[in-house]
Structure formats: structure tokens, C-alpha cells
């Protein structure tokens, strides 16, 4: 018993020393990056982008990345953030699962002089925040419009909107409408299908009664364009004469693009988002100027590159 105890104590003494020998460093700014979760393609992409950027900058920064088990675990994400900041963070990049619940914490941090960057999801009413690093959905809509103008066979367009009042969907529509301005393309119908695939089938069937031969069908997310695709197939339209565009770059949608059904899905640039969170976080930690709004851009996935994205 005594001998066991002695051995255990010795191990406890020696192991940390071994750890310590590995990383004898100090004085580098610590960048904390707290994600919502890491249980989806989206967050895995963000994490890998951030980790790659941090590895590249490893001479200049210490980097900690953490997340909650699921996007619903608000409390655990708050804990992860507190625990990272307590290690002496020089800048915090955080993708809050629930902006309202994070605001009081972020206000405190800003009050203590810690640079705070929001990633993916913004927190409104947060004076003193350094930046919001995320996808600009107006750009997403505009890119889709430009692609449609360049590649579609005609000018009759219809649009499937997201849930009313949700900003990302509104912004995508706004961008699309801005993008087609000055071109011959006109939007004949624009209705909501509430982000929902099944609802999109019904809504699209109804639209096809009024607009039987659309040239361009754009939906604010992939679920709805996949629903619209069903309606178009059921109506017996020739898929080659209709351009179908979705947003998100979901695996379903990418596979459909590769199968020659959908024409385009606009994906968020997840890797770039993670990388920018780290790079701009470092700039903020050094006190350099950072833009208040950083658009992480979007990736167009069509038949030419769908194989690279898992299709």
C-alpha cells in the first residue's frame, strides 16, 4: 500500500515536469477561440481553418480552441469561455450560441480591456466589440444573382424566402435583388417556405401554376431548393432548362449538384472564417486596427468543383 502510494506520488511529480519541458515559452499573446460546438461539418470546417492558421502563426501566438458538446449547451459554452479567458487571454474570438446570454459576460470582458471578436453570430448592442467576423449574406445573394445572370438560359426568376424576420434569409434576398438590378432578369414570384423542404414542394407547385416555365429558381437555403427540385421534377420540366440555386453547401445539395440536378449551392467559407478569427484576433491582441465588420466570403459550388466538397 505504502509502496503504491510512493510510486503514485513520484509519477505525479515527474509527469508535469515532462510536460513543462515540452513547451518552455511565454510572453506570446494567448488567443481564445470558443466555438458553438464541433459536431457538424460546418464547425469542423471552422475549427480546421482556425487550427491551421494558428499552427502557421505558432511563433507569434498561443492558441486555445474550445466548444460545448452541442449548440444547445449555453451554460457549458459559457464555462469554456470563462476557463479560457482565465488563462490570461489577450484576445477572445467567440461564436455565441445565444447572443443575449453572452452579452453580460462580453460586456464585462470589454470593460476589463479584453479585445472581443464575434465569429459567425453577431451580438447586437455590444459597444466596444472589436469586430464581427462572419458571412455577409447580402454578398451570398449577390454572388448567386451574378452566377444566374451569367449561366441561365432565360430571364424569368422565382425566389423562395426563409422564415419571415430571420435576418440571414432577408439579407440573401436583398443581395439577390440587388444583384439582378440592371440585368434582364426579373423575379416573378417571391414567397416563403419557412426554410422547410416539404413546405417548399407545396409552395413551388403553387408557383408553377402561375409561372409554368421559370428559368431561374433561387432559394434562401438548400432545404428549400431541394424541395423545389421535387416540384420541378413532378411537373415534368426539363432540368437542363431550369437553373436551381440553393445556399449552405449541405452534403445533400452538393451531391445533387454532382448528379446534375441542382446547378449551384453557395457555401459559407468555414475554413476562412476560422482562419480570420485567429488572424484578426492576433491583430486585436497586438492593438492593431481591425475592421468592425469582416466578411468571410462565400464559395460557389457547381458541377465544376462539387467533387471537391464531398459530392
Amino acid at each position: 500500500m505504502k509502496r503504491l502510494f510512493l510510486i503514485a506520488m513520484l509519477l505525479l511529480m515527474v509527469l508535469p515536469a515532462a510536460f513543462a519541458a515540452g513547451d518552455a515559452e511565454g510572453g506570446k499573446p494567448l488567443i481564445c477561440f470558443i466555438m458553438k460546438a464541433r459536431n457538424s461539418q460546418f464547425w469542423e470546417g471552422v475549427a480546421q481553418g482556425a487550427e491551421a492558421a494558428a499552427a502557421e502563426l505558432s511563433d507569434e501566438l498561443d492558441f486555445i480552441i474550445d466548444w460545448a458538446p452541442t449548440e444547445a449547451d449555453v451554460d457549458l459554452q459559457l464555462n469554456a469561455m470563462e476557463d479560457c479567458v482565465a488563462q490570461g487571454a489577450s484576445a477572445l474570438a467567440v461564436a455565441p450560441t445565444a447572443p443575449d446570454q453572452f452579452r453580460p459576460f462580453l460586456q464585462d470582458y470589454i470593460g476589463e480591456g479584453l479585445p472581443v471578436l464575434l465569429v459567425d453570430t453577431d451580438v447586437s448592442d455590444l459597444p466596444g466589440k472589436i469586430s464581427f467576423v462572419g458571412t455577409d449574406n447580402v454578398t451570398v445573394g449577390r454572388l448567386a444573382a451574378e452566377y444566374a445572370i451569367a449561366n441561365a438560359g432565360g430571364n424569368t426568376a422565382v425566389f423562395l424566402e426563409g422564415m419571415p424576420g430571420v435576418t440571414s434569409g432577408d439579407d440573401r434576398k436583398e443581395g439577390f435583388l440587388a444583384g439582378i438590378q440592371g440585368s434582364a432578369v426579373t423575379v416573378e414570384r417571391s414567397l416563403t417556405a419557412n426554410w422547410d423542404r416539404a413546405q417548399a414542394v407545396t409552395v413551388m407547385e403553387n408557383i408553377l401554376q402561375a409561372v409554368p416555365n421559370p428559368d431561374i429558381i433561387m432559394a434562401a437555403n438548400d432545404n428549400m431548393i431541394l424541395g423545389a427540385l421535387e416540384a420541378v421534377k413532378n411537373a415534368g420540366l426539363d432540368l437542363d432548362s431550369v437553373m436551381l440555386i440553393g445556399v449552405d453547401g449541405n452534403l445533400d445539395a452538393v451531391k445533387s449538384v454532382c448528379a446534375g440536378e441542382l446547378d449551384l449551392t453557395v457555401a459559407q467559407n468555414t475554413g476562412g472564417m476560422g482562419a480570420l478569427a485567429v488572424q484578426e484576433g492576433l491583430r486585436a491582441a497586438r492593438g492593431e486596427s481591425v475592421d468592425i465588420r469582416i466578411d468571410t466570403g462565400a464559395i460557389l459550388i457547381d458541377a465544376s468543383n462539387c467533387a471537391d466538397y464531398g459530392g
Binding site: A17, A20, A24, E25, L76, Q87, G88, Q101, P104
Partner: protein, 369 residues
Amino acid sequence: MTENIKDGMLKKRETSMRVRSPASLKKLLTLIRIGPLMILLLIIVIFALYIDLRSLSSSGRIIFLSARNISNVLTQSATVSILAVGMLLVIVTAGIDLSVGSLMAISSVVGAYWWSAVVLNPLSNWNDGLLSTLLFILIVLAVGAGFGFINGFAFVKGRMAHPFIPTLTMLFVGRGLAFLFSNEGGAYVGVPAFVGKLDDWAILVVALLVIAVHFFLKQVTWGRWIYAVGGNPDSARRVGIKVDGVLISVYVFSGLCAALAALVGVLGRTHSGFPNAGLNFELRAIAAVIIGGASFFGGRGNVINALIGALIIAIIQNGLNLLNVQSHWELVVTGLIIMVAVELDVVRNVIEKRLQALQAPSDETGFEA
């Protein structure tokens, strides 16, 4: 059938321990009795060595035992600690309360709704004062206690086989109502200024609650009845204890603790009420109580150890965060510690039986054991 197997296992263990003398058995028993405390200290020592020796040598700072981190981890543990106190009383009566996480959600949403609809409403005469703050706290606590009463009443008066059933029902109903009651799954933002500061006083709230309940269980008749009901409900009824009342009261108290946890850990911490609050916290509270050595079969457990159980869970989470270990490992480690704690309890049972067997003949007959 299971009883037979269990007896067989106990006998096997007893034979293997026959060589030990009563004195050494007693020593072992004391060691096991303070098992939760030993686990806590061991975890603290391990994390302190791993995290702080490393950070001392690399940057000359300590992290794990720094004032900021200690204050963080105590505050983070407050929610589970408060829930564990309520859960302990329920488990002492051989019951279970699966609804506390959902009750945190519904009480925080209702309270924050009232505050934003009535007090923050520019047309109202209310302002953030003593009366409105008291009323706010009262509403939150009343929601928790009210749903707790429904749990207890349904269990006792509905003659349900096990409290698992009404509280599992409430786990779904409470969470569903919280979503229905909030803005399409959103949050109500804004709480009284006093409640917004409760987070800073979380440690004090937990300390007062633990002391009060500890005293209540030891000194007040009703508190001792709770143990009696958990130990043997039939004999408790025979000696005139109001078993139904005791059972209902522990579920009301558990609901009250859920509301208090919502005040400190949700409304105080995030200044808002939201329907995802307290997700899976019922399981953390149960884990804390079990790690703290309470028996699932009722009649045994104490508040201090339940608090230690809650601290163990919080420190594991904190330490693994600081070591930058994937959060999924936290679940694995917590699970393993539950297993260790329950095994300690089994060993303790065996030793107690063995001691009785050793002492009984020599005490009563004078024969040498």
C-alpha cells in the same frame, strides 16, 4: 432473483475479507466514509500539479489555483450544487427528480417574461425597486415550487409506481412549456439589478443553503422523518410519520431549489430567461448526489457530501477545459467517477455487514470471534 445474486456476491466478498481484524476494517470504513472528500482532494492535487507546475515553468503564472479560476469554478459549480441539495432530499426518500433542468427553464422564462412585460414596459408604473424585485423572486420561486408540488402530488396521490414517471413527464412538459412561453424559442432579456448581481454572490447562496439544510436534516423533526421514510416507509408509517406529506414536501423543495438555481445560474448569470436553460442539469445533479455517497435505495446521504459531489463535477470540467482536453472527455471522466463512487458504496456496505457479523457474537455471548 437479483437479490439472490447480490447476496451471493456479498458473501463472496465477505469471505475474501475474513482475514482482516475488526480494527483494520474500522479504519478502512472511515477511509471510505470520507471517500468523496478524498476524490475531491485527489482531483485538485492532480490538476494543480499538471496545470500549475506546467504554467509556472512556462510563464511563471499559476492558472488552476489562481484567485480568478477558483472564483470561476465555484461560481460555475453553484447551479449544480443548489440542484444537488434538492435532489439529495429526494434521493434520501429513495426517489428521483428528473424534472429539475426543465423547471429551471420554465421558472427562468416565466420570471423574465413578467419582468420584461410588466416592469420594463414603458407604459407601466413599475420600476426596478425593492417591491418589484421581491415580487420577481417570489414569482420564480413559486413556479418552481408549484411544479414541484405537481410532481409530488401526482406521485403520492396518483399512487404512481415510482417518482421516475411523474418527474419524467415534467421533464418534457416543463421544457415544452418553456419553449411555448418564450418568443419562438428566444429569450426574455432583462432582470432586476439585484438578481443580475446574484451571480457574484453565488458562493454565499450555496453556503447558506447547505448550512440551512444540514441543520434542518439533523435538528428538525421533519428532516429526520425524511431519512425515516427513505429507510423504511412501512415502519415510518407505523410509528405515525406523515409519509405522504414528507414525500410531497421533498419534491416541492426540489422544485424550489431548481427555481433558486435558475435565479442564480440563469437569470443572475445571463441576465435573461431562456428555454434551453438547465439542459441535462438533472443528470448532473443526480451524479453529484451519487458521487457524494448517497444511496439510491434511500435512507442515506448528506448535504455536505452532495456539495462535494457537485464540486467534483465542476472541477473536472474546469480542469479539463484548462488542460484544453476535448469537452467530450469530461463526460467520460464524470461517468467513471460515478462508477468509482458507487463501487466505494458497495464495498462500504460489505464492510459494515462484516463488522456487524464479527462484533455481534462476541458482544452478546462473550465467545471469542
